[in-house]
């Protein structure tokens, strides 16, 4: 590594460091693909398609849609995402205000805590049969996503409000703040990074929930359904294409949240 194209690598040069990261990433991912390829060829296992077969399946899905169901890739993705987004918005709308209030009021927190602790350990995906069967394919999966995002978000917001430096509150009071002003001028803004952190964790779980719900309830016709039918039909390249899409969408949802979280945390200097 120390000498490439005759240029000596200098750990202290930013450009060199960047180049190194890039080179390593490329080598690493190439190796990964090669190993995958080798495993596929050597084992001869049809359940492990080669990267090329997977890529072709992906391209085919993109260009021609799913031949078995006559659905396009866009339809699959939008089915998954629309449920996901609605569940997320609902969770945000409920958990953030609730978390602020519960973080603020010890009495309310004490009262709600036992209920939260009783409901929280239920794996959110376990609600899927109940919500989907009793509330239908529109509201049901949305609520599953909601449950998945709700608890991590709520606990993070409560935690955030409680983690507030008591000196900030004292400072605000000596500057003339009323109780209400303390709440929305100190508690709310200082909870923002925690909200973002909760969103980040919640989105990851919510995304798992929607994929799981789609495996379970096929009429949702989302990307999880595509993966399951491809695997069911023994067409593994299609199944792996599904995995890739799920990975990319997962990366997008959580990655964006992570980015926002980092920016907020950095801007406010509050490292959560």
């Amino acid at each position: 590594m120390s000498r490439i194209l005759g240029i000596k690598y200098d750990e202290n040069n930013k450009n060199h460091r960047f180049a190194r990261t890039l080179v390593i990433a490329v080598i690493s991912l190439t190796l990964f693909i090669l190993v995958w390829w080798a495993v596929s060829v050597v084992t001869g296992n049809t359940a492990i398609p080669t990267p090329l077969e997977t890529w072709n399946a992906l391209v085919d899905l993109y260009l021609n849609g799913d031949r078995m169901t006559h659905r396009t890739l866009g339809q699959y993705i939008s089915a998954s995402l629309s449920t996901f987004v609605r569940g997320f918005i609902l969770a945000l709308a409920v958990a953030v205000p609730l978390g602020l209030v519960l973080g603020y009021s010890k009495l309310l927190r004490d009262f709600s805590n036992p209920v939260i602790e009783v409901l929280r350990p239920i794996a959110p995906i376990a609600w899927a049969p109940i919500f989907i069967l009793s509330l239908g394919y529109t509201i049901g999966p949305m609520l599953v996503v909601f449950v998945g995002i709700f608890f991590p978000l709520l606990t993070n917001v409560i935690f955030g409000v409680r983690k507030i430096d008591p000196n900030w509150i004292d400072a605000a009071k000596t500057l003339g703040a009323s109780q209400l002003q303390v709440f929305y001028k100190v508690m709310v803004p200082s909870a923002v990074p925690y909200v973002m952190n909760g969103i980040k964790i919640g989105l990851g779980i919510g995304w798992m929930c929607i994929v799981a719900a789609e495996l379970y309830a096929t009429p949702l016709m989302g990307i999880g359904f595509y993966l399951a039918t491809q695997a069911n039909a023994g067409y593994w390249p299609g199944a792996y294409a599904g995995l890739v899409i799920i990975g990319v969408l997962g990366l997008l949802t959580v990655g964006v949240a992570d980015l926002i979280h980092r920016i907020v945390a950095k801007r406010t200097g509050m490292d959560v």
Partner: protein, 375 residues
């Protein structure tokens, strides 16, 4: 989300769809004659052949499951869930795996010795060298009710007119199907029927499989007599009672306030719409007063050609310019697909679909467990 009046969340059985049309398949190397005594008019199961075998069914409350359950219980055996990697060697037990709803699943499953499925999945399975046909359910339970049309009371009571029109179009389609089958291969109708059936079944099936499959099904909305649901009147009370007896339900008929199956069936089944549909069909000006279109969602089992008539009713049989039967009656029908009967029952139950086509057992089980009709 739910309508609060008891009556509105009722689900009623409105019409028949088909009888017969499922089959039990078995591994190629199993001797058929060790499992049934085929010398009797109705083949009798032989206990030693069944013990310890693993059967795939499309779901615990489907008709296929219930029929296997009846066979096992009939021999005094338990019909127990098979656990992959678990201990599956109990005496006097037949095992099941309840997520084998199609040919792909059956052919891909490593555990099952056989199973029961509807057409054309059954045909596809027995065409594969891995499995062979054991017996058609027609031969075990002749004329047994299979799929029925169920309606959401909250919808039918408010939309009587649409309900009647829906059934009328459906009846027309069933008649068309039976005509096409009667006309036989070579006729244009038959060719059209096969074309629609192929698109319903999906690309996994050959034309021959589809044709073979349709031969084993009897399509019916009910006998065309004064009491159209007579065959169901006969079977549902018995079915309800035996489902409870077999432990396939968690509630009993008396939980719902009924003394016996007859009382239950009387409340559960409603042939009044079907009778009115007949009147509408008899009226030469029946379709003239209809203006505009009403949107309807109907839940169906994906890839099930038992339900071919509902797809025929939604097809422009005379080409793109013509109207489908539903359109003739001013209906714009959307299908919501489920993988099995319970899925359809659920779609009706949660108001997602106004009507659903599904097996008699799943709808009966759902109605009993959910207390969806009460005395």
């Amino acid at each position: 989300f739910y309508l609060t009046q008891d009556k509105d969340k009722e689900i009623n059985l409105l019409a028949g769809v088909n009888t017969d049309g499922s089959g039990i398949y078995i591994k190629e190397d199993i001797d058929i004659n060790t499992m049934f005594d085929f010398s009797k008019p109705i083949p009798t199961p032989i206990k030693s052949g069944w013990e310890g075998k693993v059967f795939g069914t499309p779901g615990v409350s489907t008709i296929q499951h219930v029929q296997l359950l009846q066979i096992a219980e009939g021999m005094g055996m338990k019909f127990a869930a098979y656990q992959a990697g678990g201990d599956n060697n109990a005496p006097d037990t037949v095992y099941f795996i309840a997520n084998i709803p199609n040919a792909t699943a059956a052919l891909g499953d490593e555990f099952i010795d056989g199973g029961s499925l509807w057409q054309p999945q059954y045909q596809k399975i027995v065409d594969d060298p891995k499995f062979k046909p054991l017996v058609l359910t027609n031969d075990l339970f002749p004329g047994h009710a299979c799929c029925v049309i169920a309606g959401f009371h909250g919808f039918t009571s408010e939309n009587e007119d649409e309900t009647v029109r829906f059934l009328a179009a459906y009846v027309k389609a069933v008649d068309w199907v039976n005509n096409a089958l009667g006309a036989g291969e070579g006729s244009a109708e038959y060719a059209k029927l096969v074309e629609v059936a192929k698109s319903v079944a999906g690309p996994n099936f050959t034309e021959q499989e589809i044709k073979d499959a349709m031969d084993t099904v009897i399509f019916t909305y009910g006998a065309n007599t004064g009491t159209p649901l007579a065959y169901l009147d006969e079977q549902i009370p018995n079915l309800a009672e035996s489902l409870v007896e077999l432990g396939a339900t968690n509630r009993t008929l008396s939980d719902l306030g009924f003394d016996n199956g007859e009382e239950f069936a009387e409340r559960f089944m409603d042939d009044s719409f079907l009778l009115k549909a007949f009147e509408l069909l008899d009226d030469p000006n029946g379709t003239s007063g209809i203006s505009g279109t009403t949107d309807l969602t109907v839940a169906v089992i994906m890839g099930d050609i038992h339900q071919i008539a509902i797809h025929i009713a939604n097809t422009k049989l005379g080409g793109d310019e013509s109207k489908s039967f539903f359109e003739e009656y001013g209906l714009n029908v959307t299908f919501s697909g489920a993988t099995n009967g319970p899925g359809v029952a659920t779609a009706i139950q949660n108001g997602n679909a106004s009507f659903g086509l599904l097996g008699a057992p799943p709808i009966t089980i759902t109605v009993i467990n959910g207390e969806l009709v009460k005395a």
